[in-house]
């Protein structure tokens, strides 16, 4: 009887296994969905070029994963309501551009961007360029950290400013290091628990804000910075940005940070592009240079 019972259970378990099915499904929304225009354009009074990236989205179940999504034959026009400039595709750079003097970008001014393609797709967006907000302080710091069983000295930088403009800001920067083999330029990563893009939002007008620490590099604990580098130039940028800029970049960073984590909530990437995806936003940049 015991043996019979055991076989009955075994049969039951096999049946349970067989009851789980996996089928490929191809919903229209994921396969036959028409690709959308993706327009990314950021304008600033400090830039010498007006630039825009135009591409298309690819349906998720599109089997042709390596096909290029770039669009090279779009008509891209920037306008301030009175004057306009057409951005032309630059094959070397891979995006559309024109000189900034064709349409000066001024703080407080609203600009519109229009993109159309020969197959009839059209996208449009507007942006108002924020005012400049000065950097008040750039603080360099170092700390001992443990990596595995090695003690190292890590260098970082923090910016300070007052939220005298709007609520949204971004810290960016470049470090140009002089080495024995020549200069090396690296982008500074500002990382905290929320994002790794140096994005900051203020809670009150005039609030004094501090960026996340921006990692400059590290050296062995018993070494000095100058033992490895002969000099450095730190270019610090504080960007006063529009809310749409902040939301778009925050979502990009969050989606990338949770990529592959099955427990994470999905991150939707917002867009202010009518008829497409992406972001068109203005920013105003304050720069300070620190020379070592």
């Amino acid at each position: 009887m015991k043996t019979v019972f055991r076989y009955v259970l075994l049969l039951f378990a096999v049946w349970l296994e067989a009851c789980t099915h996996r089928d490929v499904v191809v919903p229209d929304a994921l396969s036959a969905g028409e690709s959308k225009l993706v327009v990314v354009c950021f304008i600033s009074p400090q830039d010498s070029l007006l630039t825009a990236m135009v591409s298309r989205s690819r349906p998720l179940l599109d089997p042709n994963a390596e096909a290029s999504t770039g669009i090279v034959n779009a008509t891209v026009t920037l306008s301030d309501g009175q004057r306009s400039a057409t951005l032309l595709y630059d094959g070397r750079l891979g995006f559309y551009q024109t000189l900034a003097r064709a349409l000066p970008v001024v703080a407080g001014q609203t600009y519109s961007l229009t993109v159309s393609t020969p197959d009839g797709r059209r996208a449009r967006a507007t942006s108002t360029v924020p005012s400049a907000v000065p950097l008040l302080n750039v603080a360099l710091d170092s700390a001992f950290v443990t990596e595995g069983d090695t003690l190292r000295k890590r260098f970082s930088v923090r910016y300070q400013w007052a939220a005298t403009g709007g609520r949204h800001y971004q810290a960016q920067g470049e470090l140009r290091l002089q080495t024995s083999t020549g200069p090396v330029t690296q982008r500074i990563i500002f990382r905290d628990g929320q994002n790794d893009r140096g994005l900051v939002v203020s809670n009150a007008p005039g609030e004094r804000l501090t960026s996340a620490p921006g990692l400059l590099g590290d050296v062995p604990a018993n070494a000095t910075f100058y033992a490895r580098f002969t000099g450095a130039t730190l270019r610090t940028h504080l960007l006063h940005v529009e809310e749409s800029y902040y939301q778009y970049h925050t979502a990009l960073a969050r989606q990338r940070a949770t990529d592959g984590n099955p427990f994470a909530e999905p991150v939707l990437i917002p867009t202010n592009i009518e008829g497409g995806l992406g972001c068109f936003a203005g920013f105003n940049r304050s720069t300070a240079v620190v020379q070592y």
Partner: protein, 820 residues
């Protein structure tokens, strides 16, 4: 039974029927005239009402399975309330049990309340023959189930945490077994299950969407009864009967004990004989037990003690990589004292205890050198413990029936996740939060005249956080594991308002304290003897919340308190309904429509994850990843019941909408939550072929749930300030485009279940064979969807494929049970 047949509009006769021992109201009591020309059934509160022709003098009879019948003369010219006490002790014939019906016909006084009896629960076909009270409730209109075979449910657009689930008065927080495939309640001890979807009586509070009241059996006073059953999934046993041999059967204490345990771990062990291998099998089992003791203390007093425990374990033992374990437990107990006071008053005092604990442990060994490992452990521990007290008076005063009292519940929440080294004599630290939730309430049901019946209620609810602090416990170190060189990484999640010192357990930055009034109103108008119009309004507040990453009630969800920036949820609901009896055909039809608004709903923010791969859980404090918003729901429900004859059952249909709007989700645009389902239908039929042979069938249908799936990819270029022009948009890695949150609809769900019961009664025992089939036409319903990469061949890039996973295609079952 025939409902209100041949009766004209006349003097109203109403009353309530109670258990003579426990003084609990008795639902489902047959009330009929001596000539059997008219009758009705008591509702969930033991109340009945129908009209007698004027100048009639009739003998009303009262009968219920397991009770001695009673009779009362009623003079038609003297309307009033009857109070009837039924004594336990007589077992009626089986067919009488089958005649028991849902008291939702025109005589039912309350809108949006439905009751299922034990007979209905046990005759409804179920997966693997495991009768399930919550799945039976899912078959009623207005209740939507989340996914394949999950017993959680969503009532009128409410979330899974918005259902107040009471087992003999004690709250149950996680009513799931086996990762949600079965409910945690043993149906063999459930006497009645009452679901209230709207128009809530004032004595209920603390949840927005529904109340599920489960009453367990009290045990027979005449003789000892035993019951045992064996199925493919679990075995169960029950023993019930009197304690002692007092001559007065009404004064005998009675008891019920029951237990159930699953076999699945045995099955999996059989499947995997290599139990001791390095990659040992995952094992799982569940168990639960119920016990109750009912003690009459004289003719006017009784005491009832009820206890319940359930346990689930899901674990794998991997010698190389460490153990993984998931488990949860419910414990509940209640002590109810009732006394009939002078006049028409009944006093009830209730003390309850309930506790829910969830433990997830996942250990991983990081080799340090030969023979020595550093073992890191993720410990995810969440618990909520309640101690409650309630005192209530029920009083009949002329045409008014009053019910007033107060209740208070002391909550202790421990929502935490810890990553730490496992080392000798190390301790784990968790933060607890204590809160007190109280309510004062009064309900007045006023029979204004023969046609109108009004119920007005008011509840004053209060919630206050009492304190919070730290708990530590010692962690035992497994042999061969130590961490001599790596510093302790124990950390505790932080909570809003806890920036000040909290180590003394009283250091709160801000103490949430809410005092809120909740008006309730219900009205019924008896248009004709067989047609009643009903309306209700209710405002509800909810102070405890379920923080869910999936919305399907998986055990990893966290119960969290109202705290700091998390406000109490609030809902207002209006419902209108019509109840129509068709006595010639033994049918009762109910139509209801409702509208509900909800505020301060909570959800994880986009990108939030409590269990974040490769990152300490402590780096993701839950309160920092919560956002709040509002919601609204509306819909219509139809329920047609057949309550008499050899064929009984019901058919229900729900047309519903629910939408949420959160500032931080979906770009502030409204969206459908995961459990929005436009159409939901169920039909349940039970047919008596002949005495001892019963057929039953259930067909369910639901349109697809709302899910968030990416629809496209695009290159996510960003702004980079640089002198190198070619880098000013960054690398542009692929990102996913989701469109609208929950913008993807799963495929429709439907299936047919059948079962046949063969019962044979012998002199001292009854045996039942039940053969059933789940999903008879083998529909592959979606359980979940998964996007996975698939190779297209050498030198070709892999492509993304969407898989639909289905569980439980055609699945037969057999159960055998014995009753002594």
């Amino acid at each position: 039974m025939v409902a209100l047949a041949h009766m004209g509009v006349g003097q109203p006769t109403s009353g309530r029927v109670f258990d003579a021992l426990t003084l609990l109201p008795l639902p489902g009591v047959n009330v009929y005239t001596d000539d059997r020309r008219a009758g009705t059934i008591t509702d969930a509160n033991g109340t009945f009402r129908f009209d007698l022709l004027s100048a009639d003098s009739v003998l009303l009879r009262f009968s219920l399975v397991g009770y001695e019948p009673a009779a009362r003369w009623v003079i038609g010219t003297t309307p009033g309330q009857l109070t009837v006490l039924l004594k336990a002790g007589t077992t009626l014939q089986e067919l009488t049990v089958r005649a028991k019906r849902l008291p939702t016909d025109s005589a039912a006084t309350r809108l949006s309340a439905l009751t299922l009896s034990a007979a209905q629960i046990n005759q409804t076909p179920a997966l693997l023959g495991e009768k399930d009270v919550l799945k039976a409730l899912q078959l009623l209109p207005g209740v939507q189930k989340p996914t394949e075979n999950n017993p959680g449910f969503y009532v009128r657009g409410g979330g899974p945490d918005q259902n107040l689930m009471l087992l003999d008065g004690a709250q149950i927080y996680n009513p799931n077994h086996l990762l949600g495939f079965f409910s945690a309640f043993n149906s063999s001890v459930i006497e009645t299950a009452t679901l209230i979807k709207g128009g809530f009586p004032a004595r209920f509070g603390g949840r927005l969407s529904s109340v599920v009241e489960l009453q367990t059996q009290t045990g027979s006073a005449d003789s000892l009864r035993a019951e045992a059953s064996v199925g493919l999934l679990a075995a169960r046993a029950k023993l019930a009967g009197p304690l002692g041999r007092r001559a007065n059967i009404a004064q005998r204490p009675t008891f019920v004990v029951a237990a159930r345990r699953s076999y699945l771990d045995v099955v999996l062990r059989t499947l995997n004989p290599s139990y001791d291998a390095d990659n040992a099998p995952t094992q799982t089992f569940f168990s639960d037990a119920n016990a109750s003791l009912n003690v009459p203390l004289g003719p006017r007093q009784s005491v009832r003690l009820s206890a319940y425990t359930s346990r689930d374990e899901y674990f794998s033992i991997q010698r190389q990589a460490g153990d993984a374990r998931l488990g949860w437990q419910n414990q509940a107990a209640s002590l109810r004292w009732q006394q009939a006071l002078s006049g028409q008053q009944v006093a009830t005092a209730l003390v309850t205890f309930s506790q829910y604990q969830l433990n997830i442990e996942n250990q991983q060994d990081i080799p340090l050198r030969v023979g020595l490992a550093n073992r890191l452990a993720l410990r995810y521990q969440s618990s909520i413990r309640d101690i409650g007290a309630q005192y209530e008076i029920r009083q009949q005063a002329g045409a008014h029936e009053l019910r007033y009292g107060g209740q208070s519940t002391y909550h202790r929440f421990i929502p935490s996740a810890v990553v730490q080294n496992v080392a000798a004599r190390q301790t784990a630290t968790s933060r607890f939060i204590d809160a007190l939730e109280s309510g004062l309430y009064v309900d007045d049901t006023w029979a204004m005249n023969p046609r109108w019946r009004l119920t007005g209620g008011l509840r004053l609810s209060q919630y206050v956080t009492i304190g919070q602090g730290l708990l530590t416990r010692r962690i035992e170190t497994p042999p061969g594991v130590m961490a001599p060189s790596v510093p302790d990484t124990t950390s505790v999640i932080t909570l809003p308002g806890s920036a000040t010192s909290v180590t003394d357990g009283r250091g709160l930055g801000s103490i949430p304290n809410y005092l809120r009034l909740e008006p309730r109103l219900a009205a019924t108008y008896q248009w004709t003897p067989t047609l009643t119009l009903k309306a209700s309004y209710a405002m509800m507040n909810q102070y405890v919340h379920l923080l869910s990453s999936t919305g399907v009630g998986l055990p990893a969800d966290l119960w969290v308190p109202t705290l700091g920036g998390i406000q109490p949820q609030r809902a207002q609901q209006v419902a209108l309904g019509i109840a129509k009896d068709l006595p010639k055909h033994g049918l009762a039809l109910t139509l209801e429509t409702y509208g509900k608004t909800m505020r301060n709903l909570i959800s994880y923010t986009e990108g939030a994850s409590f269990l974040s791969a490769g990152r300490p859980a402590s780096a993701m404090p839950w309160a920092d990843n919560v956002t709040s918003g509002r919601g609204w729901a509306y819909g219509a429900e139809v329920l047609l019941q057949k309550t008499a004859g050899r064929l009984t059952g019901w058919a229900g249909y729900t047309l519903a909408w629910v939408q949420w709007q959160f500032d931080a989700l979906n770009g502030s645009r409204p969206f459908f939550p995961r459990y929005d389902r436009r159409h939901d239908a169920a039909a349940v039929a039970m047919y008596s072929l002949r005495p001892g042979l019963y057929l039953s069938a259930a067909w369910v249908y639901g349109s697809g749930n709302a899910l968030t799936l990416p629809t496209a990819r695009f290159r996510g270029f960003e702004n980079v300030v640089t002198n190198q022009d070619e880098q000013r948009f960054g690398a542009g890695p692929n990102v996913r485009e989701y469109g609208e949150r929950n913008g993807f609809r799963a495929e429709d769900y439907h299936r047919l279940d059948l079962s046949i019961q063969f019962r044979k009664a012998r002199k001292r025992l009854e045996r039942t064979w039940e053969v059933g089939a789940y999903n008879v036409y083998n529909r592959r319903n979606p359980f979940y969807y998964s996007l996975e990469g698939e190779s297209q061949g050498p030198s070709l890039p892999s492509r993304t494929v969407l898989y639909r996973y289905s569980l439980f295609s055609f699945l037969p079952s057999v159960n055998y049970s014995l009753k002594f």
